[in-house]
């Protein structure tokens, strides 16, 4: 870990992405809201105000924000190293520094926008305070970790195989169906639930986050040590791939 390099790249990225000629800092928070608000409005109008005993807006919000985190963090990771290969002219910058500088900032920005949209919706009366703050925050932290772990693998693999972005776009679409965006463990039969919880890390992140938001109104299913273990393995795979990415890079 090279804190100097990562911090310098984060600030550089910050200036580049939300530069002086754009809206600046505001984009960081506005961007997810531009996506989230129309979706929430439509869902709220179309569907009943309560579904399975849960307030609809809160349910949609709790599904949509983790999806945004995942999409933003993973999409930007593809070819992130080659797009910034000029940074590797400085020996103290490693490919991992580029990854963490850019996608780490993306994850932090998205987490900040989750907090921001929560407060906005809370002020308008759409969202109540979470039942359990720790679980709620933990759910989002795990979502960010899961997204970064997948992004790390994608960033390294896309430098090896050009086909990755083509494979990734259908997977990113299917993610809506298997991530927990639309459904919860309590709604599926126990035998299927056990399988999903074993093979679907983002689903567990969703359960943690929603358990924190909604409390004991519904039964939530999550095993935090198991999730931690799975994410550690994914992160290790990603780090190993990233460590060996250099020989696949071309320095202009």
């Amino acid at each position: 870990m090279q804190r100097h390099a990562i911090a310098a790249i984060m600030r550089r990225e910050f200036v580049l992405r939300w530069g002086r000629r754009n809206l600046g800092f505001a984009w960081l928070f506005a961007e997810p809201l531009i996506f989230a608000f129309p979706v929430i409005t439509i869902w709220t109008l179309v569907r009943a105000p309560f579904e399975h005993g849960l307030p609809m807006t809160a349910f949609v919000w709790s599904g949509y924000m983790p999806l945004l985190i995942f999409r933003h963090v993973t999409m930007g990771a593809i070819f992130t190293i080659r797009q910034n290969v000029g940074l590797l002219f400085h020996r103290r910058v490693s490919p991992f520094d580029i990854f963490l500088g850019r996608q780490g900032l993306e994850a932090l920005g998205n987490l900040a926008s989750v907090a921001f949209s929560f407060f906005v919706l809370h002020i308008f009366g759409f969202l109540d305070w979470p039942y359990d703050y720790t679980l709620f925050v933990l759910g989002f932290v795990y979502t960010a970790w899961w997204s970064l772990a997948v992004a790390l693998i994608l960033a390294s693999l896309s430098e090896r195989w050009e086909v990755i972005p083509h494979i990734w776009s259908p997977i990113a679409y299917l993610y809506i169906w298997f991530s927990g965006f639309l459904f919860m463990a309590a709604w599926v039969p126990p035998n299927i639930r056990a399988i999903i919880l074993a093979i679907d890390p983002p689903f567990i992140c969703y359960e943690i986050e929603r358990a924190g938001l909604f409390g004991p109104r519904l039964q939530f299913y999550y095993d935090i040590p198991y999730l931690t273990y799975v994410l550690l393995i994914l992160t290790a795979i990603g780090l190993w791939l990233m460590h060996h990415v250099r020989k696949h890079l071309e320095l202009e």
């Binding site: 100097h4 000029g86 002219f89 103290r92 250099r246």
Partner: protein, 217 residues
Amino acid sequence: MIRVLGLYKEYRSEVNHRRIRVLNDITFSVAPGEKIALLGRNGAGKSTLIRMISGIELPTAGTIERSMSVSWPVGLIGGIGSSMTGNDNIRFISRLYNKDFGAVREYVEDFAQLGKFLSEPVKTYSAGMRSRLNFGLSLAIDFDCFLIDEMVAAGDARFQRRSHEELFEKRADRSLILASHVPDIIRSHCSRAIVLHYGRAKVFDDLDLAISIYNDL
């Protein structure tokens, strides 16, 4: 001191995956204070050699020992970001190398004479302006050895005089490896030369001889 020992570099051809040897058993050393020119036709491996010395590219075989700090390869590409402004580049590099932004900025401003262009994106700069910014930054960060890949004939006499003064008078103890096609730049900055040809390298202590051999290649 930099010692390059039995250096080989091979690439795989993208067409038929055959190995292409760019550098073939290169050995030389650079002592503190030595200013060496790197001569060779386009594609002779000058940039590759400079990148390996800076440590951003690995040799296929052979070793490079460095007992002094070595700059990044200062050239037209790499090292600085082209969609960032000059000032943003100064800020990024100061942060990366843990130097005071104000001091680095002041130095680069004075050395590169970019004036109000420092707040414009680098992609709007001419080749000479980029060279001046990049070279000025590496001087401001201050290394024991400067690696310069293709210093553009920045032309104006003031800049020539200034870089000569910075490298020879203020930094007589520092080393320089300079790749260039321009005899005037080489004569004003270097005392020895390495000529690269078909992957082989030959070191010349007589600069004029090296330049005349290079001209006949």
